[in-house]
Amino acid sequence: MRTGSLFGLAAQNLRRSRRAFLFSVFGISIGIASLVFFLALSSGVRQVLRRVFPASQLEVIPARSSLGTQTGLDLFGLGGAKPLDDVFARELRSEPEVAGVFPRMKLAFPGRAWGGAQLFGRNIYTELIAEGIDSNAMAGESLGPEPFSDDLGSQKACQTDPDCVAPEYCPWDTRKCERPIPATISPFILELYNGVLAPSHGLPKIGDFLASKFRGFGFNIELGRSFIGGASPTATAAPPTQRRVMLVGISPRASQLAVTLPLGFVRRFNAAYAGEKSAAAFSSVLVELKANQGAAAATRIAALARVRGFELADSGAERASLAVTLITALFALISLSIVLLATVNIAHSFFRQVAERKREIGVLRSVGASASDIRKLIVVEAAAIGLAGGVVGILLARLLGFGVDLAARSFAPDFPFRPSSYFSFDLAIVLGALGCAVVACVVGGYFPARRAAALDPAEALTS
């Protein structure tokens, strides 16, 4: 039987039993709509998780079981943890899956910061939480107006700021022209600000436009002095001093909750205010995996870190991802149960139709249909129901998703990393759902089709 004839006859049969067709399509579409809805929701949530926890980034830290790290003593050069140093960073760089290795170092002494009057209308005062990162980490990022580098500036002798060429200024302790320390922040901080701080403090939200205006925004820091903790803890620490900082952009490689400065600055500050030891060991190493490296690469890096006495920082990504996977699996199971019920309904419907169309099947056999033609005809009818049910189900899911997004936009409060849509109707989900619908219906139609094909033509004609 030719394909065109097969589809033509199947279409004629479906048109005839329109009510049974619509009923079967309805059943399968409900299951598929539910499946697509939850898979798209899961995919959308995963996309948010990827924004919060970039999958290509791993953070190696000293082992948590070590006393030094647990107490934080290593930050002050007194801990017993095995230090993360350039030797391990070099080893990581030689791994084939690794695109880049960027050591990080926390500011190991108290500091404070203030500024923001131009942006917020008033100055904001805060403790300084800062971290240094290898300046190469920001290569390729769109930053400005100053480069993210360890460069101090011209170091020309000066008495006041006008003696220096802007943006350089004249620090009162060194009296040498210095450029503001370039700093980046993470998208997480921006989301935290937009989702929590801005609404609660009546401050303006920072969108893409404002974020671009953010570049060049300056504030002041005072090293060795804190709003809450007093002066630096070590007796040999340098006297408190002030510096200017300039935000040069937002980067996913920046520390999640700290202002990120070039590593050289932090190393120098730690040496001056917390001792040479704290300027030698990194607090963590950011490992950037090459594109398309899956979980296996992460596992390998984790194993290597463990062997060398380190471990991967728990960002919470794994637990969040596991929770999403479990919830998705649960709802997918419920959806597949609906699809299964629809399959049983389709099988039942086709068994009934085969019984009702017995004589018709006999007529088709008498004009030249083989048993396999009859089987194919019923399977194609079932597949057509699956295709129609799949398309309707996907449209229903999209409609439902649109409704949920609309309701969330209207009623749900703002929060960090809030997506414009909670759903991601990926092509793979759409095609997979269509395939699932067709396969479910073909399975439902297959056994009735076999029964129809096995009918004795002579008996069918006399039924």
Binding site: M1, N13, E360, V363, R365, S366, V367, G368, A369, S370
Partner: protein
């Protein structure tokens, strides 16, 4: 010789339906197969048409040894070389007259739309009902339905027409017209086997074979 049956036996659930039936059908004949209900007439017609494969004995139809043919080959033979006409017409109510007549085309050689339409018109013209080409079976009288069924049987230009009680559901006048139609088709060269229990149909045949309790009781006519 168009068809030959040798010592055909057929049981239904242990009950013999055909017992040692042997007969031949020559090209160009109208043969009537007569007998009471349950005498095995329809079963014999189904065996000749390749619709019933569960029998013992040798059946040779249009040069094919039916026992040696698989389901697909039998389907192809039915599609190209044999036409069937049934007592209850067996038209598909959801299709138009033209679609019913063209039903064999779905399983045979590919025809373009124009050729298909031409063949449908020719078949309907032969049975004198071409004006109903776009109608539905539900709009036709019994006689018209049977003519459409005959047109469907003629669509593939078969060599053998097997008719099972073709006048059984028709009044006598309409039945006579169908008999006349069969005679006309036969004069045009078509070999016809008619299963009937009606005397007038049997009389129109060139040869009559009587079945009784699954056996050939008598064979009357030219080739008998």
């Amino acid at each position: 010789m168009l068809a030959r049956l040798d010592s055909i036996h057929k049981d239904y659930g242990g009950q013999p339906v055909l017992r040692d039936v042997s007969l031949t059908i020559d090209a160009g004949e109208i043969v009537s197969l007569v007998g009471r209900s349950g005498s095995g007439k329809s079963t014999l017609l189904h065996i000749l048409g390749g619709l019933d494969r569960r029998f013992r004995g040798r059946a040779e139809v249009l040069g094919h040894d039916l026992a040696q043919m698989d389901d697909r080959a039998l389907a192809e033979m039915r599609n190209r070389e044999i036409g069937f006409v049934f007592q209850s017409f067996n038209l598909l109510e959801h299709l138009t007259v033209a679609q019913n007549v063209a039903l064999p085309s779905h399983f045979g050689v590919r025809l373009d739309e124009a050729e298909m339409r031409r063949r449908v018109e020719r078949a309907l013209d032969r049975v004198g009902i071409v004006e109903k080409i776009d109608g539905r079976p539900g709009e036709l009288s019994g006689g018209q339905k049977q003519r459409v069924a005959i047109a469907r049987a003629l669509f593939s230009q078969p060599k053998l027409l097997l008719a099972d009680e073709p006048t059984g559901n028709l009044d006598s006048e309409t039945g006579d017209h169908i008999i006349e139609l069969f005679q006309t088709l036969n004069r045009d060269g078509l070999t016809i086997l008619v299963v009937t229990h009606e005397e007038r149909v049997s009389k129109a045949a060139s040869r009559a074979i009587r079945l009784e309790d699954g056996r050939v009781a008598s064979a009357l006519g030219a080739s008998a």
